[in-house]
């Protein structure tokens, strides 16, 4: 209702001689009678309305729809057919590829996540020292994370290639390894190869650690020094506890990212997940079901199972925080 209409309505009701009772609902539709707080609330909702609309159209609506599809058989062309919990029964009891792709994903995460967290912290610690050319070193370490994606995967396919690559000649010639693995051609080494590829882009994790390290107040180190703590003790009792929130952040982000791992493995295997399905990670399997087999119902079920797994894993990490994450309550900005 526009201002004009509401004015007309008010005028009309005055002529009729019946004063309207200013009920909540009445006020809601008469912006002129809003008090300051109500005006502020209206403005707030006006400003956030793009997100609310987007949330309903692109998040909440699709979530409900995908939940519904997960109980149907649906190939887009024909209307969805209700099949009850059939999809979920297939996922858990009849589809060996579900368990296979899940275990491949967990294998990838179990290698990439701890290595990424540890190396990222180690490099950040080194880059936090006052050494010559520190800005240059920071730039070099961060650079690969800027070019993440297709180009990186294409580059590393060549590096791993036993014939034209540079990794195996290095392993043979410099480290003296007789039979270097075939990397992406070898089912046993394909996932470790992808882990190495992902470690190259460690700069993103590293830069977050670095920001955290720079936020540690120097007076804490000075106090520890006065108390006679050596450098190892200062690291153990000052740096590490104060860095746990940042480690926690990187852990959660990394956990979610590794369950959604897709681009590099798609490019490296042309979307097949080979050799012999050794790199068929969960998200790739989901993609194949949805956009190659157009089995939207089954893919929706897979997506919901993924969602629940990620949610449980994240909750588990959150629940573990009192054991190891140290919050410096007062220094929060």
């Amino acid at each position: 209702m526009t201002y004009k209409q509401s004015e007309q309505a008010m005028a009309a009701s005055e002529i009729a001689g019946n004063k309207p009772a200013p009920g909540k609902l009445y006020i809601l539709f008469h912006p002129r009678q809003w008090n300051l707080r109500q005006r502020e609330a209206a403005a707030a909702y006006a400003f956030i309305s793009p997100w609310i609309v987007g949330f309903l159209i692109f998040t909440l609506g699709p979530m409900l729809a995908s939940f519904y599809f997960s109980f149907t058989e649906y190939n887009i062309l024909d209307p969805p057919v209700w099949t009850g919990i059939d999809n979920y029964r297939t996922v858990f009891f009849e589809d060996p590829l579900f368990w296979h792709s899940l275990s491949r994903t967990i294998y990838f995460a179990a290698l990439a996540l701890p290595l990424g967290l540890a190396f990222g912290l180690l490099i950040a610690l080194l880059l936090n020292q006052d050494i010559p050319g520190v800005n240059l070193w920071r730039t070099i370490y961060f650079l690969p994370s800027v070019i993440a994606g297709v180009a990186v995967a294409i580059l590393w396919i060549r590096i791993f290639n036993p014939r034209i690559g540079i990794l195996n000649p290095f392993l043979k010639g410099v480290l003296g390894i007789e039979n270097p693995p075939g990397w992406l051609n070898d089912p046993d080494w394909a996932i470790p190869a992808l882990v190495m590829m992902s470690l190259w882009g460690i700069g993103g994790t590293m830069i977050i650690y670095l920001a955290g390290l720079q936020g540690i107040p120097t007076h804490l180190y000075e106090a520890a020094k006065i108390d006679g703590a050596n450098s190892r003790q200062r690291f153990r009792h000052v740096t590490l506890p104060l860095m746990t929130p940042v480690i926690f952040y990187n852990l959660v982000i990394g956990l979610i990212a590794s369950f959604q791992y897709f681009t590099e493995v798609y490019v490296a295997t042309n979307g097949e997940g080979g050799p012999v399905r050794s790199t068929l990670v969960y998200n790739l399997y989901l993609y194949q079901n949805a956009f190659r087999f157009f089995d939207m119902g089954y893919a929706s079920a897979l997506a919901w199972v993924l969602f629940i797994i990620v949610l449980l894993a994240t909750l588990l990490v959150f629940r573990s925080t009192p054991m190891w994450v140290h919050y410096e309550g007062t220094t929060r900005r």
């Binding site: 400003f47 159209i57 961060f142 180009a151 590096i159 920001a211 929130p245 959660v252």
Partner: protein
């Protein structure tokens, strides 16, 4: 000044005893750190150098195994109308440049002086030094970029990136302002909902969204990659809100007393103050959109709508033998992000600080 570590066991720190003074120890430590970092930086840089050098080689140069990082090419010389490799040969204690014209058994070869091809020398090839020179093939770039319509991909990517960036900045900053500066019932709950959507795997919403676009006829157009950005991005809203909260509230209030509307406060006070945050969020978005592969792969089917990332992946799948051309195309794809990164290095570290990762 010597260190006394009385309370610690005797051999607690051999390192300390060897290096003696604190200052010497600091220097040794710094030197050690620098060496470790330089070594790591070299390992990080080698793949990039490999990409650059491969992009500059031709098919013939690619045959060398292991591939040298410098694009060497064997120097050839014409002998009797045929191209033959040139060697530095030691004959009678004198170094001479000679061409290898024929292989002989037992690793030997027939060498001649190009100026005087009648006299042949039979020598062990392995003992002679092959003459080589650096040869770069810049025409690879032209060939790579014209063998598939990369200009088309580039235009698509730029449209998606920049129109999307405009929509994202506009909508996200409006929403962030709403969350940063107002009190209203339910607003905090909505903010938590917004934060939780960051953690939601996109796969959960992807299929219905795809079907929605299919029904709207948007699949295989650029719209699915642009339109949603006009409805704010949760992560960017979060980042911008954190930044808006650092702007003193007194400035808003003064403007409000002077009769400015909320929108005017937003436009004339909040946005100008937040330029660094807006630039940071814009750059993050640029990198994301430029490198994004998943969504373009799903929504764009026909060749003329592809982005650089999808085009490059397909180029790689089809022309995989032409490593030099693929590396040239890849190099072109990574140059814009690298340029952006070099011009905005500070913003990256600041951007992380803005996001309030700390605590």
């Amino acid at each position: 000044m010597t260190t006394t570590t009385a309370k610690q066991p005797k051999n607690y720190n051999i390192f300390k005893r060897i290096t003696g003074s604190v200052r010497a120890r600091t220097y040794v430590l710094k030197g050690f750190t620098t060496i470790v970092l330089a070594l790591g930086a070299f390992i990080i840089a080698v793949p990039l150098l490999f990409m650059i050098s491969t992009a500059l080689k031709d098919r013939n140069q690619l045959r060398a195994s292991p591939p040298p990082l410098i694009p060497w090419e064997t120097t050839m010389v014409e002998v009797d109308g045929k191209e033959e490799p040139l060697y530095e040969v030691v004959v009678d204690g004198q170094t001479q440049e000679m061409a290898l014209i024929k292989n002989r058994p037992e690793g030997k070869g027939l060498f001649v002086d190009p100026a005087n091809p009648e006299v042949t020398y039979e020598l062990v090839i392995a003992d002679q030094k092959e003459k080589r020179h650096i040869e770069i093939h810049l025409e690879n770039f032209k060939e790579a970029l014209t063998s598939v319509p990369f200009d088309r991909y580039l235009i698509n990517t730029l449209i998606i990136t920049f129109v999307g960036m405009f929509g994202m900045l506009l909508s996200s900053s409006l929403v962030a302002y709403g969350f940063a500066r107002f009190r209203a019932p339910g607003l905090n709950v909505l903010f938590i909902v917004l934060l939780s959507t960051i953690m939601l795997p996109s796969q959960v919403t992807l299929i219905p969204v795809y079907i929605l676009y299919q029904k709207l006829g948007w699949v295989d157009t650029l719209l699915p990659l642009i339109v949603p950005l006009f409805f704010a991005n949760a992560y960017d809203v979060f980042l911008l809100r954190q930044f808006f909260m650092t702007i003193p509230l007194e400035m808003d209030e003064a403007a409000r007393i002077d009769g400015a509307s909320y929108l005017q406060v937003f436009w004339h006070i909040i946005l100008p103050q937040s330029r660094p945050a807006l630039v940071a969020v814009g750059i993050f978005h640029f990198l994301f959109a430029w490198n994004d592969f998943y969504e373009p792969l799903i929504f764009l089917h026909s060749r003329e709508n592809w982005t650089v990332a999808v085009g490059l992946q397909t180029f790689n799948a089809i022309y995989s033998v032409n490593t030099h051309l693929i590396m040239a195309a890849s190099l072109v794809m990574i140059i814009p992000p690298i340029i952006i990164f070099f011009f905005s290095q500070k913003i990256f570290t600041q951007g992380v600080v803005i996001s309030g990762v700390k605590g």
